[in-house]
């Protein structure tokens, strides 16, 4: 339904020839922008509903009061994915979890999953690569967060937390949490949820347009197979190179995915692209500086090292199975 609209708008109304690079680029831009905005709105809406009933406080409460024998890693990864956060919430969250007596490994799982699997990333992936790639992305993001958190948890890293977090941990009062359920009926919540979903779309709209704009330009003008000579799956260093380049960078997934989509269309293996994407949104220098408040550099180094390594491994794995 969107494709005929894009065709009609670009070829009939704008009068651009479908056979020209400009026609291809503009059509791609119109089609992708509309599709992704609709997807993002729907996904944010669903996540908003889930969040209204399972706020993060409830998760913490649950994790602190139940013995889950490993399932807590899964819960942390899952909720990290579906809870939308402003990046700077990661520090209060981290402290809140640690204070509540939740193990460091589980807390780190949450911290890794939260940016890695997000409503924006899912919408962009779904719009650009389809259901199969999105499922691979979401499942591997969740599993990777769990494994990374588990490994880090086993490394006994508590001594490398910054001093005042250790103090907070000591005073951990198992949270006689006064967490009260909001008793607003569902129908009354709908307007708020709708507004918030729209807010999420509006917040990243500019990034979507920039990302799709660049993607569209490349789509129209970069020749097929252009990148293949540099980053094909036969080059064993393709994945680590993509990941190492991406770790220090941060970009909004809304901007990155459309560009990666074109990379893939022009010959880069999907596994390398997914690994690149994970490294961009999962780890970044701004995040490291934020974590400095709660961790020593040494712990940040170990944290980044383990996650980077796992992203590289999953990149190889995808290239191999896909």
């Amino acid at each position: 339904m969107i494709q005929p609209f894009a065709d009609w708008l670009v070829y009939s109304i704008f009068g651009i020839d479908a056979a020209t690079p400009l026609g291809v680029a503009v059509n791609f831009f119109v089609y992708d922008t509309i599709k992704i905005i609709i997807l993002l709105f729907c996904i944010s809406f669903v996540m908003g509903i889930i969040n209204a009933y399972f706020p993060i406080e409830r998760l913490r409460q649950y994790l602190t009061t139940h013995k889950l024998y490993g399932l807590d890693y899964f819960m942390a990864a899952l909720f990290g994915g579906i809870t939308p956060f402003c990046s700077c919430s990661s520090v209060p969250l981290f402290i809140g979890f640690v204070k509540g007596g939740i193990p460091l490994g589980v807390t780190l799982t949450f911290l890794i999953a939260s940016p890695l699997v997000s409503e924006v990333a899912i919408a962009m992936f779904l719009g650009s690569f389809g259901v199969k790639a999105t499922l691979i992305y979401v499942i591997s993001g969740t599993v990777l967060s769990m494994i990374a958190g588990y490994i880090l948890g086993r490394m006994r890293l508590e001594p490398y937390l910054s001093d005042w977090v250790k103090n907070a941990q000591m005073q951990s009062n198992a949270q006689s949490e006064r967490w009260e359920v909001e008793k607003t009926p569902f129908l009354k919540r709908l307007p708020t949820i709708t507004k918030e979903s729209w807010g999420i779309v509006r917040g990243v709209l500019l990034y979507i347009i920039i990302g799709i704009g660049i993607g569209a330009a490349m789509h129209g003008y970069v020749p097929e197979g252009f990148f293949e000579q540099y980053l094909s799956s036969e080059n064993w260093w393709g994945v680590p190179l993509a990941v190492v380049l991406a770790v220090p960078m941060y970009a909004n997934p809304a901007s990155v995915v459309p560009v990666i989509e074109v990379f893939v269309a022009k010959g880069i293996p999907l596994g390398t692209a997914i690994a690149f994407m994970m490294a961009i949104i999962g780890l970044s220098i701004p995040e490291a500086t934020m974590l400095k408040k709660v961790m020593t550099w040494r712990l940040i180094g170990i944290f980044f090292g383990v996650v980077t390594l796992l992203i590289i491994i999953s990149g190889y794995l995808f290239n191999w199975i896909l």
Binding site: I56, C86, C88, S89, P92, L93, I95, G96, Q175, E196
Partner: protein, 77 residues
């Protein structure tokens, strides 16, 4: 009345602060508005996500940017 906006300084926290500030100014309210960006102080309110709005040392809104109407309600308008 005392209102605090808690947030380490991300875009959402600034927006939240601006919304509260706007409501206070427009209605000429006698409210002491402060921005809290110190994490230690923030944590004493036991919040997990920012921005958060604290009215007279009670956390009223957390993890999202409130609308002007919500703030008006919180401030008793």
């Amino acid at each position: 009345m005392e209102v605090k906006v808690l947030g380490p300084g991300c875009a959402k926290c600034k927006t939240a602060y601006n919304v509260v500030e706007k409501v206070i100014k427009e209605n000429n309210l006698d409210v002491v508005l402060t921005k809290v960006d110190d994490i230690m102080e923030m944590m004493s309110y036991n919040i997990l996500s920012t921005p958060a709005i604290v009215v007279d040392s009670e956390v009223k809104i957390k993890g999202r940017v409130p609308s002007e109407n919500e703030i008006k309600e919180l401030l008793g308008l």
